[in-house]
Symmetry: C2
Subunit: 281 residues, 2 copies
């Protein structure tokens, strides 16, 4: 498996495949790959002739007080995970390869990006949509694979692809969890043992909310209060948001009559974790 | 020469050419084609295996008080011009084919779009960059052809292509003029005979400014005042802007030491005309 660092290099690598009409699956990542990424790569490998994995810790999607500098990096480990999961080639550019100094262009998705994580991370999704557009233009894949763990990111990217007529299919992939329920995240390495133990309340709370809905509760205000109360029993927790929303528009839902995305972001110590579940009734 | 109205249709039409690695030249237009467009299509036909011409009066680049409704349209005439100039296929979608009702995504180029025409047409360039991105994603051409008459549009699109790693080459084409010097524009049909006569001052002024520079004048304040004075001798004229700027950044230039773009927008009656010239010293 090759690892290519330049835009010109990856384009030249992929060109012969395109001319042979080979299907290209694409898994964009920020590296520090875990089993969640592995599952995306495996799915891409099953569904396509070749799989491109990008590894790029994108500076423009981090806020000034966020964890860009200390975001975990391990290129060597990543190459092993990518290869074992079935990647054909890794694209791992440095920031100066991806951005010119006087960049002036942004891809902006409105409304969807103001809510949930967008409210507490201003500019984050603009950084995401812009870099994803750039990566799509570089790789020109047929399908791109994103995990449902970043449910808002998925909704934003789906809208962008539709609005800009990008010729790529976005494949939603399930959240991968530890055996005890914690959603996999590169940021989990930040957690102390105590924080990690308390963080289990997130998946437990989401699963028990799902049960409550299955049992007939439809009132999101009631369900939300219960979920918040449960999370607040953990002394190290600090809730950013707990929201019951439409899976596509991300607008708040009051009474569940079809499908609901329950999304939350909670800090444990300095580590902000997100998790979510979609429930159909 | 085929005329295709759907995105799916044009993609299917172009796919076999792409798989054969045929080069695709693209000329995006708002229709009402004149010799200026014709020259772009001819150049594209010389340099590529096939040529796609799009005809789409893009509503999102017109302001609320601008001329979207009355913008001249003549699809039949356009097809004749396109065919004679060497187009392989015309893509002529309706607005509902190009835009979903709940569109939320914009491609935004900052700085470059605040100046010149951007200052008096807020939102215009956002409409342009967004629709051009969409068209590029649909047609996937190797080269796209733009006239230098819209010098700011050209600078904005060049920047967008660079920043978003769009895999397309932007080809700048010279301004085509009537024999008396008037720059060709679909909007020239709006001009009364008197307005049209007075409008000749624009090209005459630009050419005489070029002469002044060739003779040694380097002070843009001086040159600008002379040019404004000349235009103001025409009673029907109403200057929007006359600017001496850097051809790439569009920043004002005070003293010419290399290359200058002299760009202007002037209304004659209700018709807003633009023209420009680039002078190297």
């Amino acid at each position: 498996m090759e690892c290519i660092n330049t835009i010109k290099g990856i384009r030249e690598y992929l060109k012969p495949y395109m001319l042979q009409d080979k299907s290209i699956g694409f898994v964009p990542t920020m590296g520090y790959l875990h089993k969640g990424h592995g599952s995306l790569i495996e799915k891409a490998a099953k569904e396509n002739d070749i799989v491109v994995v990008s590894i790029f810790v994108n500076p423009t999607q981090f806020g000034p007080n966020e964890d860009f500098e200390k975001y975990p990096r391990d290129l060597e480990g990543d190459l092993t995970v990518a290869k074992e999961a079935g990647a054909t080639v890794v694209f791992a550019p440095v920031a100066s390869e991806m951005y010119v100094e006087d960049k002036k262009t942004q891809v902006v998705v409105s409304d969807l990006t103001d809510k949930l994580c967008g409210a507490s991370r201003p500019g984050h999704f603009q950084g995401v949509t812009t870099v994803v557009t750039k990566l799509f233009n570089i790789v020109k894949a047929n399908k791109a694979y994103f995990g449902k763990k970043d449910a808002q990111q998925l909704a934003v990217i789906q809208k962008m692809v539709q609005d800009l007529n990008m010729d790529i299919e976005i494949i939603e992939c399930p959240i991968i969890r530890e055996e005890d329920g914690l959603a996999l995240s590169s940021r989990n390495v930040y957690l102390s043992e105590e924080e990690r133990q308390e963080a289990l309340v997130l998946s437990q709370g989401l699963f028990s909310t799902k049960e409550r809905i299955k049992q007939g509760e439809r009132d999101c205000v009631q369900l939300k209060n219960e979920l918040i109360e449960l999370i607040n029993t953990k002394p190290l927790s600090n809730i950013d948001y707990v929201n019951f929303v439409d899976v596509n528009t991300l607008e708040d839902i009051n009474i569940i009559d079809d499908k609901v995305l329950i999304a939350l972001a909670v800090k444990f110590g300095n580590t902000r974790l997100i998790d979510n579940i979609t429930v159909e009734v």
